[in-house]
Symmetry: C2
Subunit: 215 residues, 2 copies
Amino acid sequence: MTKRQANATTADTREKLMRLAARAFGTQGYAATTMRGIADQAGIEAASIYYHFSSKEALLDAVMEHGAQSIFAHTQARIAALPPGASAEQRFRAGLLGLFSAMLKYGDYTLAHGRQLAELPDKVRERQIKRRAQHQDFWHGMLEDLHTEGGLREDIDIALCRVFILSTITSVQTWFNRKKSSPEKVVDELCTILFEGVRPREVRKPARRAQAVAS
Amino acid sequence: MTKRQANATTADTREKLMRLAARAFGTQGYAATTMRGIADQAGIEAASIYYHFSSKEALLDAVMEHGAQSIFAHTQARIAALPPGASAEQRFRAGLLGLFSAMLKYGDYTLAHGRQLAELPDKVRERQIKRRAQHQDFWHGMLEDLHTEGGLREDIDIALCRVFILSTITSVQTWFNRKKSSPEKVVDELCTILFEGVRPREVRKPARRAQAVAS
DNA sequence: GTCTATAGATTGATAGAC
DNA sequence: GTCTATCAATCTATAGAC
């Protein structure tokens, strides 16, 4: 309300640096990313970054926290936007779509977040391990609700089910093509596979199957 | 047959270096891994590595190729070991188990192979992109065979199905616990989810589901 | 085959002017 | 807030002895 013109504020620069750093960390890795490289893209000198962040590690930490928090908040917002009394399956589907679209919306941060944890400095890594555990617990709870509601077979391993879903969606940047499909359609197809399975229910081609086995 | 004692041969040293490098690249990333670090673990000096590999990049390239080739060969061997005339589903399941166990058997290489491609030097990255495409084509073919045999519903997107399976299995190092389960059991459970889906077939608790939707 | 020694380049970070 | 200048550390890679 006070000032917001071509005049770049400290907060703006800080945000720009984080976004550029996120992309660099995500595409090149933490160690391969240089402060000079980030500074070049921001149009400033490397030394100037240290006015906003005390070290390369502090910059990484800010990027990782901001990314994880943004993605998780976006997911939960989608669920919260459902009408009250929504079923567990509706909440589950809304959550998946929320996570999926968040992975795309915060693409730069997604890449950074998706990197192997082992590469990160100890402090940052430990925080991210906790974050990841919280995220998994959240989805574990979603699946338990689904189970309680009667939407999950008794013989299904919830942990494996969670891996199935999350490994697919969190790797979305490596396979999703915006021009070929939409998040809504993909999540719907994903849920069809997950809930209904891929095997045809009515047996219409027993001959072909028998033939293949025999030949 | 000529010599194989405490006397380390060139091939032995080369292999040891590759294994140590694979683990280092996989856990720390390419840029963060130093030749000194690898040499320390091998019990030699950094300069000595250059007798076996012309550069750090050449070492990486050897590691990536050896890993990818080992894992793929192991997968295909499992399929080839099936009795002749095995069904597409049997081949599919054998392939999954082969890939799963290969990911564990070549654990050090798996980590290196699983890293984001963007981090790698251009030459190595391009080779790995081709490798990855070949691997995806292979599994695409497996799913098409399954479809031809009548084991796949018409409305299932094969590409999405492939992502579903491969993203789960190739991330196995991040979630599989040898002490809690076995590769055979996990692959079996995975196939149950994939083929049959997770939703109960007989509707036994309509009251509960209706209640949840209504309240 | 492995060593010692070192060249040559790059990096994260600081000091102080403006 | 951003700059210039620079330091100290670390890295890949090479040269040549053994």
